[in-house]
Structure formats: structure tokens, C-alpha cells
């Protein structure tokens, strides 16, 4: 009977015994396929947002006055004669209808524009520093490529959706960080010290939860002065969303601290003379860090939905800032949506992002309790 066996000789069962807490969580997480999918989707979306300028064929403010409300253009690889070609799109001819004065776009199957990769198009600055005009794909002028169609003044929706991802996805992160800071501090103090402080904080949180959030958001957003700059409004929205949202996190933190406060190892640390701050930091927080991560991951999609809703109503971010919610303002009129259905596509991105976060959060939640069978 050897007491020391090589790592590779360990049976599955022994590996299980020896794994650290974080390793156990990783094992369990890996098995949760939906969570992996969610995580991958999110990684793709964030990369998409970061490299939006390179990935899109145009810039968000580029207007094609000839093509307002253009339909999405499908990419073809088989031409009208049935031959295989490089991916291309057909050209569009627009004519004004004599009676309704509407611009009608018809597809001209005679003219083809092959899609060029690493093509030259409108110039932009990478990370605001280096000027270049290389885009991942585009078509040669005077061809146009509108994968998701255009809006009412002829701006490419595909481009705008990619750029909008930046604000939509970042507001969630920034807002949650703020909520996290407030919630952790107040929840931690409330739970650890108890007594009057606890009661006061608890009442405030209960009150915040009972007030209907959306009317409160509406009211607070309406209070943001119309003439504030885009950046200020962005942070204003972030502050509003997190001010209303920190309650949930604070309660989780408080609950966990109350639970852990009574644990024997905390008592042991106190008896050994460790000060309060260190106890909280070293003994308590690692114990519920996993729950915090889960809660935060699940709070982000709520923020994204909230910002989208507010912007949709016109109370959130405003032009020239673009987020998916702002893009959806064009979809307010039910009759226009019925005709120009592609204006809803930004909402699809919202749904996918929120779903991905929820899958990820679920997987994390399952993994967070590695000792539960």
C-alpha cells in the first residue's frame, strides 16, 4: 500500500476529494452546456462591440439619402444564370412613386457587386487613435450593402446595431458595478454590525423594493435635463438604474453575513484577536463570493433590459448616442413596424444578450454550490 501515489495514478474519486473549491466549481460549470453556450455568445458579443468599427461596412452616421427604409439585402452565391460566384449582392434602383411620393426600391438583378473583404470604405479611427479606412467587408461604390436594411434617413442598420452594442452592453457592467459597491458596503455593514444600523438599512431596502421601479425610473429620467451632454446622460442613467437596484444585492450580502457571523470559525478568529475588517475580508467574503458572482451575473441583464426600455420610451439615452433601445425608438409605431419589420432586429440582439447572461448565471449558480450533490 503506497501512501504517496503520482497525480496521474489518482482515481476519479480521489481527484474529487483533493480538488480545491474553485476547481470543483469549474468541473461542475463545464458540465452545464447551456452556460458554456451563454458564455461564448457573450464573449462574441463583447468582441463585436469592441471591434464594431472594423466589423461594420460603414460608420453609424453615414447616411445614404437615396435609400431610406431599405429592406435587408440577402447575400447570394448563385447568380441569375445559376452559376456559382463569389458572395455578392444585387444592386438597387430607387424610384419615387408618382402618387404616394414614396421611394420604392427594386432589385436590379443585372448588376452585381461582389463583397470585398478587408475593403476600403469610410475612414474611422481604431480606438480613437489610428486612422484607417479598412473594414472587414464592404462593396465597391456605387454599390451598397445593407445586411439589416436602413432606417428612415438611410443609415445602415447593421453598422448601427454593432456600434449600439457598445453602449447597451457596457451600461449593464457599469451599472452593476455601482450597485455592487453600494450594495456590498451597506449590506456588509448592516449584516455585520446589526442593531440600529441594520434595522435602518433594512427598512430603506424594503421601501425601495416596494416602490414600483419603472415609474420611478420614468420620473427620475424625466428629471435629467434635456441639454446635458451625451456622456453626462449616460452616467445619469447608470446612476439612476443602480440607485434603484442595489437593494437586492445588499440583501443577499446581509443574509450571507448574518449566516456566517454565527459560524464557529468566525468566533475562533475573533477570539484569536483578528479585527473586524480582516475577518470580513479574509473569512467571510470568499465564502459567499460565489453567490455574489451569480447575483451580479443575473443583475446585468436586468439593467440591459431597463436601459433598453427607457431608451425605447425616449427617456434614456438620446441621439446622437446609440444603444439598442435608442434604435428601437423607430419601432414605436405599430403600423410602421408592420411594414418595416427590420426595425425590430435590435430587439433580437437584446433578447440574445439577456438569454446568454441568464444561461451563464444559471450555470454559475449550479456550480456555486459544489458540495451539493
Amino acid at each position: 500500500m503506497s501512501k504517496f501515489s503520482k497525480r496521474s495514478d489518482l482515481t476519479a474519486e480521489e481527484k474529487y476529494y483533493l480538488a480545491s473549491q474553485w476547481q470543483l466549481m469549474w468541473f461542475k460549470f463545464r458540465r452545464h452546456r447551456l452556460a458554456i453556450i451563454g458564455g461564448s455568445i457573450l464573449a462574441i458579443m463583447y468582441l463585436m462591440a469592441i471591434f464594431a468599427d472594423f466589423l461594420s461596412p460603414y460608420t453609424p452616421d453615414q447616411t445614404f439619402t437615396k435609400y431610406p427604409f431599405h429592406k435587408p439585402m440577402p447575400i447570394h452565391i448563385i447568380d441569375s444564370e445559376g452559376k456559382l460566384q463569389r458572395p455578392f449582392i444585387y444592386s438597387t434602383v430607387s424610384k419615387r412613386d408618382a402618387i404616394t411620393l414614396e421611394l420604392i426600391h427594386t432589385v436590379d438583378k443585372n448588376v452585381r457587386y461582389p463583397i470585398g473583404f478587408f475593403a476600403h470604405s469610410e475612414p474611422y479611427k481604431i480606438f480613437g487613435l489610428i486612422e484607417t479606412d479598412v473594414h472587414l467587408f464592404s462593396v465597391a461604390k456605387p454599390g451598397v450593402i445593407f445586411l439589416f436594411g436602413t432606417d428612415d434617413i438611410g443609415r445602415d442598420l447593421f453598422t448601427r446595431i454593432l456600434y449600439a452594442a457598445r453602449l447597451s452592453l457596457s451600461i449593464g457592467l457599469v451599472g452593476v458595478s455601482l450597485s455592487f459597491l453600494i450594495g456590498m458596503t451597506l449590506g456588509g455593514i448592516s449584516g455585520y454590525f446589526g442593531g440600529v444600523v441594520d434595522t435602518v438599512v433594512q427598512r430603506v431596502i424594503e421601501f425601495l423594493i416596494t416602490i414600483p421601479t419603472i415609474p420611478l425610473w420614468l420620473a427620475l429620467s424625466a428629471a435629467l435635463p434635456r441639454d446635458w451632454s451625451v456622456v453626462r446622460i449616460y452616467f445619469g442613467i447608470v446612476v439612476i438604474l443602480s440607485l434603484v437596484g442595489w437593494g437586492g444585492l445588499a440583501r443577499v450580502v446581509r443574509g450571507k453575513i448574518l449566516e456566517l457571523r454565527e459560524q464557529d470559525y468566525v468566533l475562533a478568529a475573533r477570539v484569536a484577536g483578528v479585527n473586524d475588517g480582516t475577518i470580513i475580508r479574509v473569512h467571510m467574503i470568499p465564502n459567499f463570493a460565489s453567490y455574489l458572482i451569480v447575483h451580479i451575473t443575473l443583475a446585468i441583464p436586468d439593467m440591459i433590459l431597463a436601459e433598453t426600455a427607457l431608451s425605447f420610451l425616449g427617456l434614456g439615452l438620446r441621439s446622437p448616442a446609440i444603444s439598442w433601445g435608442v434604435l428601437l425608438q423607430k419601432a414605436q409605431n405599430i403600423h410602421s413596424v408592420a411594414i418595416y419589420w427590420w426595425t425590430i432586429i435590435p430587439a433580437l440582439f437584446v433578447v440574445i444578450a439577456v438569454l446568454a447572461f441568464n444561461f451563464l448565471g444559471d450555470g454559475l449558480r449550479d456550480a456555486a454550490d459544489p458540495y451539493k450533490q
Binding site: M1, T11, A12, E13, Y16, R31
Partner: protein
């Protein structure tokens, strides 16, 4: 130690007989063989003690008898023969959710569990929970059920039963909760009571009271009992026969005198030796068994005790599984030390 000379002369009928019972759990990591070929028998009005360390499969055996093993566990093979008087029923063949097994549960065989606080529903009064079994198996009349329930509470020694019967589990002390659970289990006069470590979670003084109560009631009700525990003292006190369990198998079984005075299996011997006694020299180190109880996952075809056995014979004990062989009347052991070499 139980010593009933007149009872030893009485011919006993076999009430429950387990033959090569196997209950496996199909988990992500593989097949967990919690019960891997257990054979034992309990005679009428007799007490069989089932002893072993935590994790050896004692509780799963008990759950298997009543067919309440939770998924992913399954009774895979073997027989559970119950003598119902007019016929013998093999419980292993019954459907776990069918009517037949339900008519046996609570009526012919009852079970008392270890932790009374979690074993009783927190949102129902104990009267409700006791009456439930009565209404299922004995009578439809609610008032009669109430009378029987009150009588049972009285018999288990709960003072002021009229008041207590309306109360909820969290309002009773640990000892009272266990008494209530016993009342619940015995309310339909089962022929066999399975007690799964009923006193482990209680204070020592309360333990003694509950043990006494169980023994009294057993005599009053003429019940057989399968008493599961890891406490040797209790075994010595109340059991007629003992089966020692290790890693899902019975490794030794016999009368309580056989086991305590003439233990054969190395595990049994070490188990008995590891008890601290008053007589020994206080400065001698306590003897303990090297190593830990392994998990019955990916078990190899060898003696389960091989890794920890001081008398293990490499080449024999790790090549195949020994059989349970009777060495003297009523005393069997599963060990190659006692098998003639092939």
C-alpha cells in the same frame, strides 16, 4: 446482554429474509454499489442489530426493504421475503409505487428515522401526522383515529397528550419528537420495526430513555426489530442477533454472544477492540483502524476490507471476493482466513 433462556427454546418463525439484495445508485461518476449482496434474516419478535461505520450501506438496506430508495438508486436484484402470515411476499418484486407495497408500509413494516426534526413535516401538527397512518391502514373514522393516536402518545410517555397532539414539531423537544415518531410508527402495530439510528441525534440521557421505551413497546406489541446503529453498546444491550456490514456486504453475522465473545472477521475484531473501556490502562493509545471507509464506486473484485486489513493476504484477498460461510451454528463470516485454501 439479552439473555432469555426461555425465549431461546421457543421455535422462531422467520419474518423477514433478505437474500443477496443488491441496491445500486446510478450517478454521473459511475455505479455506486451501496448494497452489494446482503443476506440476513429477522425472526418474529427478535431484534437483529445491523452494525457498521457510516457509509457502509446500512440505511440503504433499510430503505430497500420498504422500497423507498430515492432515484438514482434502484433495487437491482435479490429477494426481500416478508412472511405475512397467510403468504410470503417478495418485496423486491413489487413495484415501488404500487398499491401492494403501500399496504405493507406503515402496517406490516414501519420505520423510525434518525433525525426527528427533519423527519417530521414542519407545517403539520403531530396529531395530523400520526393519524395519517391510522387512517390509511386501520380505520376511516376520524374520531376513532384520534383516540388511537392519543392512546399511542400516552404509551410513548408524552405527558398531556390532549394538548400535545395539536402541536407542531418545532414546539417539542428532541426527545419528545422522537417519541412522537415512535408513536407514529407503531400506531398500526407493525410486525417489524426498522429503527435507523433512532437515538444518535439525541442527548445521552434521553438516549437511554428512548431505548428503554423501544424495548418496552417491542415486548408489548410482540414486534420484531431491525435495529441499525454504529453504537456497539446499544447492540450489546438490546439485540439477539447481529450482522456486521462493510462496504455493502455482510462480513459477519451471528448471535450477540458469538459476535462479542468470539468475533471472527478482522473488521469485527478491530471494531470491538477500538472501544475505549474503563478497565484498560489509561495511558495506552486507543486502537483504531487504519484508513477510511472507501466509497463503493468502481469497486474491484476483491475483499472490501483488503486495503485496511492487517491480516490481508496479498494474492488471495485481492484476487476475488470471499463468500459468507457458516463456521459454527448460526455464526457466519466472509473471510479467506477461514476458507480452506483452494
Amino acid at each position: 446482554m439479552v439473555d432469555h433462556p426461555q425465549e431461546a427454546a421457543k421455535p422462531r418463525h422467520s419474518l423477514l429474509e433478505l437474500k443477496e439484495l443488491k441496491t445500486y445508485f446510478y450517478v454521473n461518476e459511475g455505479v455506486l454499489k451501496a448494497v452489494d449482496g446482503v443476506s440476513l434474516s429477522v425472526d418474529e419478535e427478535e431484534t437483529l442489530g445491523l452494525i457498521g461505520e457510516s457509509g457502509c450501506g446500512k440505511s440503504v438496506t433499510a430503505h430497500s426493504i420498504l422500497r423507498i430508495v430515492p432515484p438514482p438508486g434502484k433495487v437491482v436484484s435479490g429477494e426481500i421475503k416478508l412472511n405475512l402470515g397467510d403468504r410470503i411476499e417478495d418485496l423486491a418484486k413489487l413495484s415501488a409505487s404500487g398499491n401492494e407495497i403501500r399496504s405493507i408500509r406503515g402496517k406490516s413494516i414501519s420505520m423510525v428515522f434518525q433525525e426527528p426534526m427533519t423527519s417530521l413535516s414542519p407545517v403539520h401538527s403531530i396529531g395530523d401526522q400520526i393519524r395519517e397512518a391510522i387512517l390509511l391502514h386501520q380505520t376511516n373514522d376520524k374520531r376513532e383515529a384520534q383516540k388511537i393516536a392519543l392512546d399511542m402518545l400516552d404509551r410513548v410517555g408524552i405527558a398531556n397528550p390532549q394538548q400535545r397532539i395539536k402541536e407542531y414539531p418545532h414546539q417539542l423537544s428532541g426527545g419528545m419528537r422522537q417519541r412522537a415518531m415512535i408513536a407514529m410508527a407503531l400506531s398500526c402495530h407493525p410486525k417489524l420495526l426498522i429503527a435507523d439510528e433512532p437515538t444518535t441525534a439525541l442527548d445521552v440521557t434521553v438516549q437511554a430513555q428512548i431505548l428503554e421505551l423501544i424495548q418496552e413497546l417491542q415486548q408489548q406489541f410482540h414486534m420484531a426489530m431491525l435495529y441499525i446503529t454504529h453504537d456497539l453498546g446499544v447492540i450489546a444491550d438490546i439485540c439477539h442477533c447481529v450482522s456486521v456490514m462493510y462496504l455493502g456486504k455482510i462480513v459477519e453475522s451471528g448471535s450477540v454472544r458469538d459476535i462479542f465473545y468470539r468475533p471472527l472477521h478482522p473488521y469485527t475484531i478491530r471494531l470491538l477492540a477500538s472501544r475505549p473501556t474503563v478497565k484498560k490502562n489509561p495511558s495506552i493509545r486507543l486502537e483504531s483502524i487504519v484508513g477510511n471507509v472507501p466509497i463503493p464506486l468502481d469497486t474491484r473484485p476483491q475483499c472490501g476490507f483488503f486495503e485496511r486489513c492487517p491480516e490481508a493476504m496479498a494474492g488471495r484477498c485481492n484476487e476475488s471476493v470471499p463468500e459468507l460461510i457458516e463456521q459454527e451454528k448460526g455464526h457466519s463470516v466472509r473471510c479467506f482466513l477461514y476458507e480452506k485454501a483452494r
